[in-house]
């Protein structure tokens, strides 16, 4: 349908004239044949007929439902569409650049990265007459599709086998090349243990800048040389240092609010010069297989957690081994003696932050749900469709836990065998 609003002046005139014999019919027609209480007036304003609002109650008194329940039903497609469209911003000729190197843990922007991009926007948009552009530099392949919503104007994706694995020397050489090419006003990196904190410190040393680390607040300050001052944590978090914002900023999580109101161009750019080749003195041999059972629950990435619904415990332990998951348990399973106390998940046990949390036969007591608050993906296997864990879960499978676990083990073993075959063939 076309976006143009077609207006009929005669009908609008009738709609305004309550004494016209066709008034009610026209009103109904303009109001989308559903309710005749709202229509668009001659100046584009929404007009309301308050006489037609509400309904007659049982005592002959007019009642108006203000809960919105009846209103929500008839919001037309046009208005709801315009509601979630964010203001789109494209900066064609930026006055300066703010470079951000997100962690991209797991190939996606982490909440920490989004906060950092929010801070970059704060720095870039301070002067609306001369807006700066936010440049995100991403190493290797990524799975992120929402760079525009996170506030990225320019995206530089550096791919190549020299960035695979742990290659800080190559990455720093590449960032140095970007610095020469683009010369951003500020470099922002996350102060995380996912690699951002280390990369930022290396970069600041290479660029000869004295970085501000553990920055948690940035404010405009006309007295300082850069126009901004920052507050950083010093001395193991026991002091705050207020200083002028330097060129390299290594910021903590929640340093600024993430971008939510605008959508940016996320235009892909290329470097004008080739990246230098570096002779690396650090060689990455690869990750070491760590026994998942020895990983502490709070640190574990993938947890298979068992509750009261698990009846066949041998099957569960076998499944955890095959999947390579760390074992967890609900309070009931621990109290019944099926699992040791240090494996208990929840407010009364360990607060976990796994990427994937599989809850087998756990109904989801509030203490347990508190303990898994920060888990990214929750999978529930449960018999009861209405339990709280199923409501929390990103994927819930209703059925017998034992049978589903057995089927999952079979599927994973099949996958492993396929992989083995591929490896032999290669």
């Amino acid at each position: 349908m076309s976006e143009l609003v077609r207006r009929d002046p005669r009908k609008e005139w009738i709609a305004r004239n309550r004494l016209h014999p066709q008034h009610l019919e026209i009103l109904a027609e303009i109001g989308g044949n559903a309710v005749s209480t709202e229509w668009m007036g001659p100046n584009g304003l929404m007009r309301r007929n308050l006489h037609a609002v509400g309904f007659m109650g049982p005592n002959g008194i007019r009642r108006i439902d203000r809960s919105g329940a009846s209103h929500a039903a008839h919001t037309n497609a046009r208005s709801s569409q315009s509601q979630d469209a964010r203001r789109s911003v494209s900066i064609s000729d930026p006055a300066f650049m703010i470079a951000v190197v997100p962690d991209m843990a797991g190939g996606r922007l982490s909440p920490h990265d989004r906060d950092l991009l929010g801070m970059a926007r704060q720095l870039a948009d301070a002067n609306p007459d001369q807006p700066g552009a936010v440049l995100a530099i991403v190493f290797g392949e990524h799975k992120e599709s929402a760079f525009d919503e996170a506030g990225v104007d320019r995206l530089l994706s550096l791919e190549g086998e020299q960035f695979d694995g742990y290659t800080p020397e190559n990455r720093i050489a590449a960032l140095q090349g970007v610095d020469r090419d683009v010369s951003p006003r500020h470099w922002l990196l996350p102060d995380s243990n996912q690699g951002g904190g280390e990369l930022g410190r290396r970069l600041s040393v290479r660029l000869g800048e004295r970085a501000a680390t553990q920055v948690w607040q940035v404010e405009a300050d006309s007295d300082s040389a850069t126009g901004w001052r920052c507050t950083t944590r010093g001395a193991a978090g026991s002091t705050d240092v207020v200083r002028a914002l330097p060129r390299v900023v290594i910021a903590l999580a929640e340093c600024a609010d993430p971008v939510s109101e605008t959508r940016h161009a996320a235009e892909i750019i290329e470097l004008s010069q080739e990246l230098p080749n570096v002779l690396g003195r650090i060689e990455d041999i690869g990750e070491v297989a760590v026994d998942p059972a020895s990983v502490s629950l709070a640190e574990a990435e993938f947890i298979l957690s068992a509750g009261n619904g698990v009846k066949d415990w041998d099957n569960y332990h076998h499944a955890a081994e095959v999947l390579g998951a760390t074992k967890g348990a609900s309070r009931v399973a621990v109290d019944d003696g099926h699992m040791p106390r240090d494996r208990q998940v929840g407010a009364t046990g360990t607060w976990v932050s796994a990427r994937v949390y599989v809850a087998v036969g756990i109904s989801g007591a509030i203490q347990h749900l508190q303990g898994i608050q920060t888990c990214e993906k929750v999978v529930a296997i449960n018999l009861d469709e209405g339990c709280d864990m199923v409501k929390r879960a990103d994927l819930a499978v209703i059925g017998d836990a034992n049978a589903i676990l057995a089927a999952l083990v079979k599927r994973v073993e099949q996958y492993r065998a396929e992989q083995e075959e591929n490896r032999d063939a290669a």
């Binding site: 919105g68 797991g106 600041s204 553990q214 994937v356 993906k377 929390r392 879960a393 819930a396």
Partner: protein
């Protein structure tokens, strides 16, 4: 942790450990810094290596007590490169390391006093032209000037690296815990005080340093045009939302769906 639990063949390896003054988080008394003590522990657990400890800073009674904490771990001597308060210690440490030429330099990730930015190892590495690695969890072996080490990653994972020596490595909380400091050896150990010319840190005086403020807690902001939605979001208990529920499926179909999610998240190895 038993003494010398790991014994990689590191005979003849010259290891320098840079130690700093720690600060107890509750009482604020000076003590040996936790991460630096772990670095000393790691150096001492390298069998056959000669370990030299180094500290650059002020020499007064409080600091001496803290530094003697490291001597109590079984080290005979510490070199104390005496500096003015608030001096920049990078030049003096660079000179000292260049002169003593160790093959491996260990230190904590960041200091417990002062700026505590954790940049010092990187500055030293840049000045000396040595590689630097962070988050050292264990030294597996050292042979022919190449060390094979384990680096600690988040989520309890480890990565094996091969690094050409001489190198600088930082140690954080994932390294083995430090042994206790004994009183007698701490008294008997020698403190080799060497006065050095110190360079003042000019920018430090321009900063405002104050006790840490509590960080404001982030509020959950609901962006919605209708007051009803905002009220609902503020008042109602969140119930997940967006979750997919599979009912009336065979165990195989359910397992397939879970398997797909596990593959997508990349947790199956």
């Amino acid at each position: 942790m038993p003494l010398n639990a790991e014994s990689p063949g590191a005979s003849g390896l010259n290891v320098a450990v840079l130690v700093s003054i720690g600060r107890h988080p509750l009482t604020a008394r000076t003590r040996r810094a936790d991460q630096d003590a772990r670095a000393v522990e790691m150096a001492l657990s390298l069998k056959g290596a000669s370990v030299n400890l180094m500290h650059a800073g002020q020499h007064d009674s409080d600091n001496e007590e803290a530094i003697r904490g490291y001597l109590g771990m079984g080290v005979e001597e510490i070199r104390l490169l005496e500096q003015m308060p608030q001096a920049d210690v990078v030049p003096v440490l660079t000179d000292a390391l260049r002169a003593s030429a160790p093959q491996l330099v260990l230190t904590g990730t960041r200091a417990e006093t002062g700026e505590g930015s954790g940049i010092l190892p990187y500055l030293l590495a840049e000045a000396l032209g040595w590689p630097v690695i962070n988050g050292l969890a264990a030294v597996e072996k050292v042979e022919k000037g190449v060390a094979t080490v384990l680096q600690a990653l988040p989520r309890g994972k480890r990565r094996r690296l091969r690094v050409r020596l001489p190198a600088i490595a930082t140690v954080d909380a994932s390294a083995p815990a430090a042994r206790q400091s004994a009183f007698g050896p701490a008294r008997r150990g020698e403190l080799d005080v060497q006065p050095h010319a110190s360079e003042a840190d000019p920018s430090l005086s321009q900063w405002q340093i104050q006790p840490a403020r509590k960080r404001p807690k982030r509020l959950k902001i609901v962006k919605s045009s209708s007051a009803r939605d905002r009220f609902k979001a503020a008042a109602a208990k969140s119930d997940g939302g967006g979750g997919q529920t599979l009912t009336d499926v065979t165990p195989e179909q359910g397992a397939e769906a879970i398997f797909k999610l596990l593959r997508e998240e990349g947790v199956l190895r």
